[in-house]
């Protein structure tokens, strides 16, 4: 306690220096007076008395010094002194202070903002119990790495596996509900009864699904998401036990999920119901509609689990060779399906931000170097007056601390702002798939990250001048006009830093260039139909009224006819799956009269109405299109795409040929009547698969989308939707949009576009910083060489050769940066190959283009100092020294 009290008093002593020192001076004065009085009384002369008194005291200043050491904390006192000195220095040089602070703020702000996203998406544990034990599990087929489960296969896996504590499945499903604007589809999901127990999530209100509640005969139950409970049911406690009708089926609400619960694969599902395995899809092993999650048993590794499920897949393949041929198993951490494609992009952005931070730090470090250079005399004088080397180094540490701390504070505020801006830039549709971003916040991990990089900055900034200090010849610093060798030494270090900066800038520029080009390439991908001026929306009529084929066909005809007659509509058609969605909804086909050994000829199949190809403006290559009369009364027909024709009918005319299912069931046989260009059914970055189209009227469905062609970008969406609701108000409409918007907001496109823009932003800043750095070094070098240049000019050197001299120096640096940068950029680009599309990491045009931009900027940056060098007046240059 006493010790603490003493320390506190001493700490306080740091600040009340003046009053204390005056007080002690008085005390010493009175001490000396008394001593002198005594001495005089013993007969000394006044001078002698004073001399003896001071001698006995051991010197006035020494006494004061010893007293001060005890009154304060000597180490801290000198730190405070250094701090005051630093602040004075920084105030005196506002340009330097502001530049350095802004650079640090920029680097830290960008890194922290990106890191916050990385944290929310990749680091923050998922809101489930023991999330590291959770897996996604599913079947694979040769073409589809993440094929869904078929229900019978799922039941077998669940029974036969030895590695999972539990295995459950889910699938997304929309539910039509009636709202004030008419019928609307609300996102929902169907899960097996143990789904939430596997995740380890309990309901906030009510109860979870019980075992057996996912069987066909069980009464239908429903759990609400927290958001849905709040939005649609006013957050009332009495909601549990209430009935609700969805899709003409009565459900009972049994619970509400906690607020923080999210499950990205089904986006913002509001209604959670059980999988009720009714319908043909649930009895067929070939109908893959369910996605799996599992919890590993304790002590089971992921490899062991994979081996076990692979064994099951093999057994099932042997048992059911027809349906399960070539079907494998896959699994991985659940986080992979939750975070999905965002991960590589986030890591890329983090790397980009880190490079930006690096370049900003290097710039500040070289600014500090220049300053330490101009302060050589000051340092030498301080050293000569007895400052220890540690004390001088500490001065640098404190300086960089002040810069970094102020930069970090500004940067943190900036990062808050940047985080909100970046989140705001994500389209709502994409954001729905990233529920983990709701937790995007400035938390302790982010703060720790910020402190970490700030610490790195302090170390870097104090180290560079300190190393210089070590190599500094002190006496030389004192000597007048001896800046030659030390100046050159600085130029050497500075040059290395500039090369590093230019290299970093090159890497970022190449990254931005490659991403931009990938994005461009992606948009150039042929869709083989006209994506502009096309309205699309999904339609869902009630099953009770339109479940039978004739009713469904009649409704489809009526919808097509009524919309076609709307003013501004050129043509209209239906499809069961819109193009540019994904390669899925496949069929296994077999050709009569050909050898067949049970292989799966997997092709996309799409049911489309008669004017589909006309509406899409897809080119018919051979044969004819469908007509409205191709219906159930006629033999089955199909239009195939070019890829199917090439793959299965090489060198043959496919028109008139027939194909059917794997059993060649007579009911499945279809005659090929036409070949259409390869309409891109999958995403832009996926391959074209073989596909066949069949007439909607020969196998009608009640879940489909309509496509409406308009001559211009007219906002006909509400008109079309109203027309459909006018036909039957029970029809639900969802996903009203345009094909152009679907292209632009598709994750493959969006991810690349935003990555390209953000990296381009980083690269632009990096280029600016790199060029400024180069300018600094060259300009400094010119001032160092003024005398030499003066001599050269005096001896008859041409101005042009002086230009050449300086530009050559800058050119060598730029060239080194570009050459090293090219190597690093190719290396870095190979790491982000996943994000590239149609562009190799060594893409020559990008590399050359970036090198040209960097070279030109470097030339510009060195031109100014070169001009100054060339205009040196030899007389004044020589006289100055």
């Amino acid at each position: 306690m006493r010790k603490l009290r003493a320390w506190l008093l001493r700490f306080k002593g740091l600040f009340l220096t003046h009053a204390r020192e005056r007080d002690f001076a008085d005390e010493l004065d009175s001490h000396l007076q008394m001593h002198i009085d005594d001495n005089i009384s013993t007969g000394m002369s006044p001078q002698e008395a004073r001399r003896v008194a001071i001698m006995k005291l051991g010197g006035v200043d020494q006494a004061k010094e010893a007293y001060r050491d005890r009154a304060t904390i000597p180490f801290l006192e000198s730190v405070v002194q250094d701090l005051r000195f630093t602040l004075r220095q920084l105030r005196r040089n506002p340009a330097f202070t502001v530049t350095a602070t802004v650079m640090v703020a920029l680097g830290i702000g960008a890194s922290v903002a990106i890191f916050a996203f990385v944290d929310a998406a990749l680091i923050k544990p998922l809101p489930y119990q023991d999330p590291s034990q959770l897996l996604y599990v599913t079947e694979t087929t040769p073409g589809i790495p993440l094929a869904n489960f078929s229900y019978p296969d799922y039941l077998d896996w669940k029974k036969l596996n030895r590695v999972f504590e539990s295995l459950d499945v889910y699938n997304p499903r929309g539910y039509p509900i009636s709202t004030s604007t008419g019928m609307e589809i609300v996102d929902g999901a169907r899960v097996t009864a143990g789904f939430f127990r596997t995740l380890g999530v309990g309901p906030l209100l009510g109860r979870d699904f019980q075992t057996g509640e996912d069987l066909p005969e069980a009464p239908r139950t429903l759990i609400l998401s927290y958001a849905s409970w709040q939005k649609r049911f006013g957050g009332k406690q009495e909601i549990v036990g209430q009935p609700i009708t969805l899709d003409e089926t009565p459900y009972t609400i049994i619970g509400v999920l906690p607020q923080n619960f999210h499950f990205a694969p089904v986006e913002n599902a509001e209604f959670w119901t059980t999988v009720n395995p009714i319908g043909t899809c649930f009895t067929r092993r070939s109908c893959h509609s369910l996605r799996g999650i599992a919890r590993l048993k304790d002590g089971i590794s992921m490899e062991a689990a994979l081996a076990d499920v692979t064994r099951i897949a093999k057994d099932l393949e042997a048992q059911y060779p027809d349906s399960n041929r070539n079907q494998g198993a896959t699994l991985g951490p659940l986080s992979r399906v939750i975070v999905g494609d965002v991960k590589p992009m986030l890591l890329l952005l983090l790397a980009g931000a880190a490079l930006l931070l690096l370049i900003a730090c290097i710039n500040v470090a070289s600014l500090l170097l220049v300053r330490s250079e101009t302060r050589r005399r000051e340092l030498a004088v301080r050293r000569a007056l007895g400052a220890t080397r540690t004390r001088l180094v500490r001065q640098f540490v404190i300086e960089s601390l002040v810069i970094v701390v102020s930069g970090t504070i500004v940067g943190l505020f900036g990062s808050q702002w940047a985080m909100q801006i970046l989140k705001g830039l994500i389209p709502a549709g994409m954001l729905a798939g990233m529920p983990y971003l709701n937790d995007l916040a400035f938390n302790s991990r982010v703060l720790l990250f910020a402190i970490g990089i700030a610490g790195f900055g302090v170390a870097l900034f104090s180290l560079t001048p300190a190393i210089r200090l070590a190599s500094l010849e002190m006496r030389e610093g004192m000597a007048e006009g001896s800046r030659g060798s030390a100046g050159k030494a600085w130029t050497r270090i500075g040059s290395k830093l500039v090369i590093l900066e230019l290299t970093t800038a090159m890497v970022l520029l190449v990254g931005a260039g490659l991403l931009g080009k990938s994005f461009y390439r992606l948009l150039q991908v042929g869709t083989n139909f006209e994506t502009k001026h096309l309205i699309t929306m999904a339609i869902r009529p009630p099953v009770s009224a339109y479940g039978e084929d004739p009713q469904a066909i009649a409704l489809a005809r009526r919808i097509v006819n009524e919309i076609k007659n709307l003013p501004g509509v050129t043509s209209v058609a239906l499809t069961d799956l819109l193009p540019l969605t994904y390669n899925s909804n496949t069929d296994w086909i077999r050709f009569p009269g050909r050898e067949y050994s049970g292989e799966h000829n997997e092709v996309n199949q799409r049911g489309v109405s008669s004017e589909y190809f006309v509406t899409l403006q897809a080119k018919l290559l051979r044969g004819r299109m469908f007509t409205d009369s191709d219906d159930l009364s006629k033999p089955k027909v199909a239009v195939i795409n070019q890829t199917l024709a090439k793959k299965y009918f090489p060198g043959e005319d496919p028109i008139g040929q027939r194909f059917g299912d794997t059993q060649l069931d007579p009911k499945s046989m279809k005659e090929i009547i036409g070949v259409v260009d390869d309409i891109r059914e999958g995403t832009l970055d996926s391959d074209i698969w073989p596909a066949y189209y069949f007439p909607f009227n020969q196998n009608p469905d009640i879940n489909y989308s309509i496509v409406v062609r308009t001559p211009q970008d007219e906002d006909l969406i509400p008109t079309v939707a109203d027309a459909i609701r006018g036909i039957d108000s029970r029809i639900s409409i969802s996903s009203e949009t345009t094909m152009t918007a679907r292209v632009n907001d598709a994750p493959t496109v969006y991810l690349r576009r935003s990555a390209a823009w953000l990296v381009a932003g980083f690269a632009a800043v990096a280029l600016l910083l790199g060029v400024v750095g180069l300018y600094g070094v060259i300009a400094y070098s010119v001032t160092q060489r003024t005398r030499e240049i003066g001599v050269r000019i005096a001896l008859g050197a041409q101005r042009a050769s002086v230009y050449g001299l300086i530009l050559k120096e800058a050119g060598a640096l730029a060239l080194a940066g570009i050459v090293i940068g090219t190597g690093c950029a190719i290396l870095a680009a190979s790491l982000m190959r996943k994000l590239l599309f149609g562009t190799p990491p060594w893409d020559i045009t990008t590399l050359v283009g970036v090198a040209a931009v960097l070279g030109a900027s470097a030339l510009l940056a060195s031109f100014l100092p070169a001009r100054r060098a060339a205009s040196v007046d030899p007389i004044s240059a020589l006289r100055a020294e």
Binding site: R2, A6, F24, E27, L28, H31, M34, A63, A66, R70
Partner: protein, 113 residues
């Protein structure tokens, strides 16, 4: 412990004892008193007294106050506090024990057995 610390500790004890014996007194008086008591065998550098006084004050054993000296000079007077007096007792005890123990080491051999 370095030598100066031992010295400082001893000096602190001497200061406390002086203040206990003489009552409130200024720094110069303490210095003279210590020299007198030591029979001028101890040559004190007066300057070192003041940090010790400050330390004792920071620890709360003594307090100081400006006053007027016997020959009418302004001087800072130091005074023992109650806790300072207790501290002096404690330290005096410790000192006696320590010196007794050390004395036994250096005493005549037969006394050791």
């Amino acid at each position: 412990m370095s030598k100066t610390e031992i010295w400082q500790g001893t000096l602190a004890l001497m200061i406390l004892k002086t203040l206990d014996t003489l009552g409130p007194i200024h720094g110069y008086g303490i210095a003279r008193r210590i020299e007198q008591i030591s029979g001028d065998r101890l040559s004190l550098n007066y300057g070192t007294l003041y940090p010790s006084l400050l330390k004792l004050e920071q620890e709360g054993w003594i307090v100081s106050e400006w006053g007027v000296s016997e020959n009418n000079r302004k001087a800072k007077y130091y005074k023992l506090t109650r806790s300072g007096r207790k501290q002096l007792e404690r330290e005096a005890n410790e000192w006696n024990q320590t010196t007794a123990i050390v004395a036994r080491f250096f005493g005549p051999l037969e006394e050791q057995s």
